[in-house]
């Protein structure tokens, strides 16, 4: 790996947003293409951040800071990736379900997915089923990802899946769910395709879903 890519990689892990932006710019000026910077710098760095989080070496603040640094670099790459028609790992429509305003979990998942090369359409929080449906159709999403913190709002995941079915989109999208009260067996029970216990595992689940 080129030294500058290595610096980008370390910059993300250390959460140094300024350095990452600077080095990405430098790499681009040196003629390294955006896809290489993404695939060899940003994505492996966020995978390492996910690993550090899973192993208990990183906590939520370190993960947020690293994700912000990654986004700093990604902001510079995005237009170039689009221009070069580089395909994302998958397109994900994400939001917290109707009635739920708690979004840190959803935000972490969105950042980690972005860091794994997915394209994210973030619908924010308190998203009604019809909005998920509309966005999934409009953006031709591969995955609809839903989050809920509350036992009382978790049930809206089921109604969203029903709305997706009713709209005839169920075969076209995979459904990924997560959040404090959500379990693997609940995912199974309501007919979701995947479950992410935390942000890092959500990425693994999303990768498995698009590979399937």
């Amino acid at each position: 790996m080129e030294a500058i890519i290595q610096e980008i990689y370390s910059g993300v892990i250390e959460g140094n947003s300024t350095l990452v932006k600077e080095k990405v710019q430098e790499a681009l000026s040196a003629g390294i293409d955006a896809q290489t910077i993404l695939n060899q710098g940003l994505i492996p760095a966020m995978a390492e951040v996910g690993r550090l989080f899973e192993e208990g070496e990183y906590f939520v603040p370190e993960m947020l800071i690293a994700a912000r640094a990654m986004q700093g670099g990604m902001g510079l790459l995005k237009p170039l990736l689009k221009e070069a028609d580089v395909k994302a790992a998958g397109r994900v429509v994400i939001g917290t379900v109707k009635g739920d305003l708690h979004d840190i979990g959803k935000n972490l998942v969105a950042m980690m997915l972005e860091g794994a090369g997915f394209e994210i359409i973030d619908l924010g929080n308190d998203v009604p089923p019809e909005k998920f449906v509309e966005a999934a159709r409009l953006h031709q999403a591969d995955i609809v990802a839903m989050s809920a913190l509350l036992t009382t709002t978790m049930v809206n995941m089921k109604s969203t899946i029903e709305a997706i079915e009713a709209a005839g989109l169920r075969r076209k999208v995979k459904i990924l769910i997560g959040g404090a009260p959500v379990t693997e067996s609940y995912a199974h029970q309501i007919g979701a395709d995947g479950y992410g216990e935390d942000a890092s595992r959500a990425v693994q689940a999303a990768k498995a879903l698009v590979a399937a």
Partner: protein
Amino acid sequence: MKPRERVMLALSHKEPDRIPIDLGATIVSSITRGAYTALKQHLGLPQEPVTMLDYVQQLPYLSEDLLEHFEIDFRMVQLPAATAPDLQLFEEGDYYAFIDRWGSKLHMPKQGGLYFDWVDFPIKELSLEALERYEWPKPDPPEYVSRLGEQARYLYEHTDYALVGSAVIGGGIFEQPARTIGLENFLTALVTEPKFADRLMEQITDIYIESCSQYLDQVGPYIQVFTYWDDLSTQDGWMIRPELYRRMIKPKQRRLVEAIRRKTNARLFFHACGAVFDLIPDLIDLGFDIVNPVQVSARGMDTRRLKQTYGKDIVFWGGVDSQHVLPFGSRRDVEEEVKRRIDDLAPGGGFVLAAVHNIQDQVPPENVIAMFETALRYGKYQ
């Protein structure tokens, strides 16, 4: 045995006649509006208009007949939580909204909303100058506090209940900053802007010390339990690096505890959701006597292991699973859950039974009844 005596024995790690039972002693062991109304209706208790104690969590003042029905051992003496003293509700699009005493805006969806949540924050810029400009909230006015003092004295002299109070006028020292600048901003600031984060938390600590001191001057002699809350964990473990907690947050909690201790002999109650197994030694070290809500569904929160490891040094308050069993379990599941927690946590005293956090709207009245009836029947010592 009288409730206060029962509670004091249990809190002193001795076995009274039965385990003490809590509903509504705190704003983290109560019942939400919808579940409360349904429960009263189911029990055939009179339905008087509901008054809200805590708008954020939609907790009503609980009626005396309900508390008597379940032989609840506690009564609350407390300031309204985390809301502006003269709360002005307004509508904003699809949401009900209000501004809390810290200047933060909260929203609750008009349709299907069950709580208010923080959506906009008064401190936008993570700088010391922004803190200078910020208008800090004031503790409740003295006449309000002296009214609470009278109420506490009356309850102490005319009832046998154990009395519980608090004067933490917001979230904990770790939680409140997130409600003032936003959670992601705060978590980031702890690492990238430590001076700012530290100053913000020190100011909050100062406010709590003032508020708690004024409150305890009036109420302190009459209460048996004083509550503090600070959610530091996720369901998997620490939200932040434990060393960071011990360096930046714990010393401020200690400062608050010392101020509280100067004013009251009440037992100190620490509410922390999530996987707190590894936090408990810090709470013991700080001088807390009680840990709540014992979120049994979180990682490592096995009640038998908790009791074995910390049972001599801390009282467990809570324990009945509210994430899976209470809302979604059968009556039978609830009975088994209650028995299991009693078997694990009650031996030798040191256990107060309550739901893990507030009982939520969707919990069927039958399950609430099963919980308290099993506790009363199965929670007898000997």
